[in-house]
């Protein structure tokens, strides 16, 4: 299904070059897909998530991702614990007892004057690979197994991956992992095989409340902007978008979220940065340091001779 162009990773053209922000919304073009469909992604609206985990099951069914253990975590109803090689959708459950403002949605008189139910909140959120515009996993992959597709998504090619695991430490979200049984790295493909057939990803298809929305990224960003304003106006000023800003540390996510609390609450990094961002500078510093060391060594040798 993938074209030869599609297999070309969009790692920075030359070591040392800064990421090209102008192409932030069009990583497919940057990867060489000259005539490509619009970039697609997920908008996960956690304010309507009911925690049914249909996304987790649909994902595993469609992608034949193996079951990965019967572990009662004690983390509320979350027994998945996190994204990994064998979990590409993960629903977090966060029980909060702190008093948080509740919606002022109803206009009827309230005899109590306060919301006694405001002291318990149960947040649910379906996490997934962010399909970053600046994808560190892809940057560091030495074999080209990780690639940017024509849809702007990031996919691991199982038959090329050598299991080195560089991508695992490179991901700022802890999304990708290595599966012990086959040694390879695995993560969400945004159902690459379905996209080619004009189908939406399995998780979005299964989501009963449309908490997971799939579509062209620019449209989703508009929808999300409108939705977050709605939710804020309905009395939840703490609602925010996460990963929707092309100016953030990963150039904006292909899969972004509407959260009802700070990202840390959901186990998400508050200010994710593509881990390869500082590489050029680090290399420069390393180069200077190395040059300095070499100079010092030379000087020392020379000094020794004198």
């Amino acid at each position: 299904m993938s074209t030869p162009e599609a297999q070309r990773p969009d790692r920075p053209q030359q070591p040392g070059a800064e990421p090209d922000r102008d192409h932030g919304l069009d990583p497919a073009a940057r990867a060489g897909h000259l005539d490509h469909p619009p970039r697609v992604g997920f908008f996960t609206d956690t304010s309507v998530c009911i925690g049914c985990k249909a996304c987790e099951v649909a994902c595993k069914e469609w992608n034949a991702v193996p079951e990965d253990g019967l572990l009662l975590t004690g983390m509320s109803y979350d027994n998945t614990a996190g994204l990994s090689a064998s979990t590409w959708r993960h629903v977090a459950f966060i029980e909060q007892s702190a008093v948080v403002p509740r919606p002022a949605g109803d206009t009827w008189a309230d005899p109590a004057g306060d919301d006694s139910d405001g002291d318990l909140r149960w947040l649910m959120s379906s996490d997934v690979c962010k399909h970053c515009t600046e994808a560190a996993c892809l940057d560091v992959c030495p074999t080209g197994a990780l690639m940017r597709t024509e849809f702007g998504t990031v996919v691991v090619q199982d038959d090329i991956c050598n299991g080195c695991g560089y991508c695992v430490s490179a991901c700022p979200f802890g999304v990708i992992g290595r599966r012990e049984t086959d040694g390879g790295a695995h993560k969400c493909t945004l159902c690459y095989d379905r996209l080619g057939d004009g189908l939406e990803p399995a998780c979005a298809k299964a989501c009963p409340t449309d908490s997971i929305q799939f579509g062209p990224l620019d449209e989703l960003r508009e929808v999300a902007q409108q939705r977050v304003t709605e939710v804020q106006d309905a009395g939840r000023p703490e609602a925010r978008l996460y990963g929707a800003d092309p100016a953030d540390g990963i150039g904006g996510a292909g899969a972004f979220f509407l959260l009802l609390d700070r990202p840390e609450v959901y186990g998400l990094p508050p200010d994710p940065v593509v881990t390869t961002r500082d590489l050029p500078r680090m290399w420069r510093h390393a180069g200077i340091a190395a040059a300095g060391l070499a100079a010092a060594a030379v000087a020392a040798c020379r000094g020794g001779r004198t």
């Binding site: 595993k60 079951e67 004690g74 109803d106 006694s116 149960w122």
Partner: protein
Amino acid sequence: MAECHPVAFQWVMEAKARGATVIHVDPRFSRTSAVADLYVPIRAGADIAFVGGLINYVLQNEAYFRDYLLAYTNAATIVTEEYADTEDLDGVFSGLNAEHRFYDFDTWRYQGQQGAEVKPASGERDTPEPGERQIRSQVRRAGRGEAHGSGGAAASGTPDTDETLQHPRCVFQVLKRHFARYTPDLVEQVSGVPRDQFVRVCRLVAGNSGRNRTTAFVYSLGWTQHTVGVQYIRTAAILQSLLGNIGRPGGGIIALRGHASIQGSTDIPTLFDLLPGYLPMPHAYGNDGLDGYVRAETVQNGFWANTRQYLVSLLKAWWGETATAGNDFCYDYLPRLTGSHSTYETVLAQIEGTCRGYFLFGQNPAVGSANARMQRLGLSNLDWLVVRDLVMIESATWWKDGPEIETGEVHAADIGTEVFFLPAAAHTEKAGSFTNTQRLLQWRHQAVEPAGDARSDLWFTYHLGRIIREKLAARAAGGDGDPYGMDRPVLNLTWDYPTAGAQQDPDGEAVLAEINGWDARGHPLSGYTQLAADGSTACGCWIYCGVRADGVNQAARRRPGREQSWVAPEWGWAWPANRRILYNRASADPDGRPWSERKALVWWDPEHRRWTGADVPDFIGDRPPSYRPPPGATGVDAISGADPFIMQADGKAWLFAPAGLVDGPLPAHYEPQESPLPNLLYGQQHNPVREILRHPENRYQPSGDQPGAEVFPFVTTTYRLTEHHTAGGMSRFLPYLAELQPAFFCEVSPQLAAERGLDHLGWATIITARSAIEARVLVTERMQPLVVQGRTLHQVGLPWHWGPNGYTTGDAANELAHLALDPNVHIQEVKAMACDIRPGRRPRGPALRDLVRQYVERAGITDETGTEM
């Protein structure tokens, strides 16, 4: 609802997005609570007090929809002088036979009705032989509360009314007195719902009802599985009728069923006391002959007046040419009831040895039914058992690895039951229809052939019948006697469904065609009004008549919603007559005009002299609002143009039910069979006519103020999780689901955990008089202690999906449950019980029974405990 019906819950989320306020009342804070606007914690078992308090609020504050109330309910009808309320008799109604524990309904009738007054719909209606008290009691216990489920019960004559609602014995005043003590303070004391929160709910519900707005109630098994389950729903029915929320868009009382097509399995019942279409099963005493049945079961007015048409057409569908006017259309081929044969009484019959063989179709009673231990003891005493399921469920393997084998009480070698396990086809492997809670039939197509030996239920039933018939026919041909004609009902059945494919699977649509029915020329019928009593029509289920109108499978229609009106009548097919909202005549005022534009659904078109609108009008199409029945009119002719409740004999919604229920014309709060609390409202602790099943394996605990009640100080309730399905046969065995909820756990509050030394993720043992089980502990603030009657009450939450087989295993919550049943529908009370909980795992081997025995002794439990009226 989000927890157990996540797919249906999308519509609640959509309503919420459009501005609806969602209130969730539940003992535990669930996934539904998480997205509700208001979560109200409640003590399990106290809902009649809570909803009764709502009724009282509506009555005291005159928040009812007066025009609707006057025109469409029996508020103005005057009740007979002999009626005595729970307020007069400290918690029981008049007519209670304390010796045999049943109610005579005679005093619950309306004043001014003629002749035999109101006929009870539940229990038999004919007068039994004099002196046959025992039989009468037994027959009444057979209930038939579900009979006429799509309509009402019988009433005859014209009762007296007082349109000013001032008469002290008019239903409105009776209702007012009955609920007067259900004040916000009392609601708080009984249910634990804080006063202010309760009043807030009252204002929200009342404020969102009336001409322009409607409120819907949604319930599931949390409301039904009680010894007063039917009365829970009745309480909601009264409230919704007072508020004008029945028969109108956005209103109603919505029952979320526990399985796909459970609605279908009551419409075309798997219940012992019903025939298809809610026709009562004939009784052995009374109901003699077709005429006797029709006389006893027919209601004089309304659409139930056509009972003969419905039954004769059913008999024609089953016995075809054999059924003739000369032989009562084979009416005597129908089995007769002699008492209750509900699932739990059948378990007793198994233990007693009178029930020798058993079929289980997709049911797992060894862990999934109340008092699971008794279920297994029953199965162990059978000659044969057929289990048709997707996987090796506990009900197929208990004889070799069940809990009693572990405790050493029973040895596999001693169990004589021959078990036949027959793999079943899954829903993707067969075609057929599901009937959902909206009475909507949706046809499914077969995706793949069943693998291996798996076969559809239709295949099994058809071929089993075919083979039995062949054997009986051979016996008859061989001259073996059938002196009593016992074989004839089976031999004469119409059993000629076409089969297809390599497996010879019968064609589901041929069955649907028989259900829909045909006329004398074999043409498909288009509606139940065509049914005839002379044998010229055949119809397998009168309320489904029309599902194959014009020979087209209407249930298979899938026209997208955006391509049709907002009612979407061309998606599937809803019984009856493709009506999406029952009693929708009530969406218009008595003159036939919508109560408001915002809530318009159907209305009278004076120009064309027709009822019209977005839905199929649930009324006689050309009957003008001004029509009043002439004196002496009967049947459909007796329905006034202004009476929307056309299945009720008087055309009204019943605030007070003069017939139809075996445990009272009005709901009253009774404590559950097992409760740590006394009944604050009445001297009567329990539902006096609840069904008690006395058995050494079904010991009840003391309640309320009784000594020993303190041994079981906590309330426990069972429920489901999104990740699993019922008794786990379809989920525990699947890795993708098992890993999401990988262990049986109990949910407790931090306070209870501290009080009892329970550690998060540690083990706890939960004990009742029946058994003790162990569960991992989830300590969560989602379980909140309640203050009830001045004390802190803790509740223990138990998801009941587990059992010893499968990929994730654990103890079954149903080990703890007792068998005390709702007397109308014979359902168990697993949603509110009392228990003890302590840290650590339960004992193994014989020590398990020792632990239970210690508790029974400590609580002073005897075979009489808890059986008092």
